[in-house]
């Protein structure tokens, strides 16, 4: 097969998704739940009517951004597990900006809030980048630790500066900073679908060109493949590391901003990190970092997440089954070597027969 490698690029994720769904079905069957009923209610819950589709697309919006962020870092060879914390800082900054500068004209307020989110996410990841570049500190551990710091810091800031009289959430953002719009709400039967999706799709294109067509992207890839060779070739590796982490965090921060400005429209005291961080990582891994692929794998995970909510409406199945499916899919993506071998054997047999 001349095109086998290209074919595998599609077949491996498809096999992984299928395997994940099968494992999920087996788990459901073991505990006495009907997998067919559950998957049926999952898909109707995610795609059944205009409102459901709107919610699924709204779920997709931040996932694309956090996934792009994870991809940028992996291109340069870093495993940025801190997407959740970076998104939270972005969320915090964008809502704070919107509340503090509410007198600004509409477009300026919106743009400023979005930029504040990107900036905060970028700085948060940049800390890990600087530590990695100058001191060699493992970004896997620092970004995780920064996640927890972001969690406690944001709840402290909400309680002490943004919440009013003993409540644990901020005021709703002013009209001018909203990403939701009557047009999209009307189109999707009052779902929370919002203009954030435009930001996400623009970023897909930007990241694609950044990685494939620019000098910066070339440097990211070079450092990711072999930092010693990149250094020998005259690249400033330290600068590349920091820049890749900052851009990665800025994208995650944007993800948080669209949650704050488009979905929740405020910020509240959180007891756990927003799951767009870890799910974005899963989206990116399934798409093996490809920006266009991220749209599709993001859509799949959004369907699972939104559809998962209606699983527990129809039956007593705990909605966490969806997270089991997602983790299993990524497990199979991780062991893609085995899938490739299996598929090769399968295609050989067909060729001979």
């Amino acid at each position: 097969m001349p095109n086998s490698s290209k074919l595998f690029k599609v077949l491996v994720p498809l096999t992984s998704v299928l395997a994940g769904l099968v494992v999920g079905a087996i788990v459901m069957a073991i505990f006495g739940y009907d997998p067919f009923l559950n998957y049926a209610s999952l898909f109707t819950g995610a795609l059944g009517d205009a409102n459901a589709i709107g919610e699924t697309l709204r779920e997709l919006t931040p996932l694309i951004l956090t996934a792009l962020g994870f991809s940028i870092a992996s291109t340069a060879g870093f495993f940025n597990i801190g997407g959740a914390g970076q998104a939270l800082m972005g969320w915090m900054a964008s809502v704070s900006f919107a509340l503090n500068f509410s007198s600004l004209p509409h477009w300026l307020l919106l743009l400023g809030s979005i930029m504040a989110g990107a900036l905060a996410g970028g700085i948060w990841a940049g800390i890990a980048g600087v530590l990695k570049a100058y001191l060699g500190t493992s970004e896997v551990i620092t970004t995780i630790m920064l996640n927890y710091i972001a969690l406690y810091l944001s709840s402290f800031l909400v309680k002490n500066f943004l919440a009013q009289d003993q409540s644990d959430f901020s005021k709703t953002i002013p009209e001018g900073a909203r990403l939701r719009t009557p047009f999209l709400e009307h189109l999707t039967q009052n779902s929370t679908f919002n203009y954030g999706i435009i930001i996400s799709l623009i970023m897909v294109i930007v990241v694609y060109f950044l990685i494939q067509r620019t000098k910066v992207g070339y440097e990211y890839r070079a450092v990711g493949l072999n930092d010693k060779a990149a250094n020998y070739a005259g690249m400033n590796v330290k600068k590349v590391i920091i820049s890749a982490m900052v851009v990665s965090g800025a994208l995650a921060g944007l993800g948080g901003a669209v949650e704050g400005l488009g979905n929740y429209e405020n910020i509240y005291v959180m007891t756990s990190l927003p799951d767009i961080g870890f799910n974005g990582m899963a989206v990116s891994l399934l798409a093996s970092g490809n920006p266009i692929g991220i749209i599709f794998s993001g859509l799949l995970f959004s369907i699972l997440k939104i559809g998962g909510l209606s699983i527990s409406v129809v039956s007593t199945t705990p909605p966490e089954i969806v997270d089991i499916v997602i983790a299993t899919i990524i497990f199979f993506v991780g062991i893609n070597y085995v899938i490739k071998i299996g598929l090769e054997k399968l295609s050989k047999k067909k060729g001979e027969g």
Binding site: I144, F156, F278
Partner: protein, 319 residues
């Protein structure tokens, strides 16, 4: 409160929080000395915390005070079972170690909360355990003036057990044939293979030991600290254990010392309340402190750390 009582409270609180980290960090050491990076320690601890809590709730009424101790072994057993996934993926199926570890970290909370909801009427957390690992007063040692009261009265027996296991781990890794083989596989698997050492078997042993010890670490968390199981029972302790492993330079005794250091930082929020000046500081700083301290320590000392040479590398046996 007298100074000695304050000191006793501080030391025992610090040790209670150190115990899970000591076990998990020693587990990580075995895995990485064999060349398998285990960022899935967090997930393993979650499985341990969950299975320990479920065992405790189920058999507590029948078994009484001995329950949590058996619960620890159960936690270790399930941790070990769970770590088989990581061994399979990294040793046999050539998965990236960090991706596979991350899968454990994603799967564990999903699976454990899923099961919690099935076992406990749809609630996201278990009921409170009534058979917990309480504090322990050493029979003779506690009679020593001052020292006995500070270090051996109402303290964490598990932390002392962890220190003992640290010594045993040191002996196993440095002094036994098994330890030498495990280390050789982590440093240079090709050479080890040439000498007839079964690289895959050794790497499996390392990962499974980390699963057992990490599971116990989780079981300690749920049975002596949180006293129930929920998603937030394990909040970064697995990663802190990894940090302790790095800070302790992959050497069991130093790893134990580092784990105690991180245990102290975890206990600051509770200890802080007893110290007059510090108790005025907002809680948030204490909550962030252990994570912040972990970053600072790694950043300042990392330059001097060298991981096992083949740590994180997949070994493919040539035919």
């Amino acid at each position: 409160m007298s100074v000695i009582t304050i000191l006793m409270t501080m030391v025992s609180t610090a040790l209670i929080y150190s115990a899970p980290l000591i076990f998990a960090a020693l587990g990580g050491t075995f895995s990485e000395r064999g060349g398998i990076v285990n960022v899935g320690l967090e997930g393993i601890m979650i499985v341990g915390a969950f299975s320990g809590a479920v065992f405790n709730l189920t058999y507590g009424p029948a078994l009484g005070a001995v329950t949590p101790w058996i619960g620890l072994l159960v936690a270790g057993g399930f941790g070990l079972l769970f770590s088989v996934l990581h061994a399979l993926a990294t040793v046999n199926f050539r998965a990236d170690h960090i991706v596979s570890g991350t899968v454990l970290n994603m799967l564990a909370p999903a699976l454990c909360v899923f099961l919690t909801k099935i076992f406990y009427d749809g609630k996201g957390q278990t009921p409170v355990l009534d058979q917990s690992l309480s504090t322990f007063t050493f029979p003779i040692l506690s009679k020593i003036p001052v020292v006995g009261e500070i270090f051996f009265t109402r303290t964490s027996l598990l932390a002392y057990l962890g220190i003992l296991i640290g010594f045993i781990s040191w002996w196993i890794l440095i002094k036994t044939k098994f330890g030498l083989r495990l280390r050789s596989v982590g440093e240079n698997p090709q050479a080890a293979d040439t000498l007839g050492i079964n690289v895959y078997l050794m790497r499996y042993s390392g990962v499974l030991i980390s699963g057992f010890l990490g599971g116990i670490g989780g079981g300690i968390m749920s049975q002596s600290i949180s006293l129930n199981f929920s998603v937030s029972t394990i909040a970064g302790q697995g990663f802190m254990a990894l940090a302790a492993m790095i800070f302790g330079k992959w050497h069991p005794l130093k790893v134990v010392a580092a784990a105690i250091f991180f245990g102290i930082s975890q206990s600051l929020a509770i200890i802080g309340a007893y110290i007059p000046v510090i108790s005025k500081i907002d809680d948030v700083w204490f909550q962030m402190a252990p994570y912040l301290i972990t970053i600072v320590v790694l950043a300042l000392f990392i330059g001097k750390f060298y991981a096992p040479a083949a740590d994180g590398e997949t070994y493919v046996k040539s035919k």
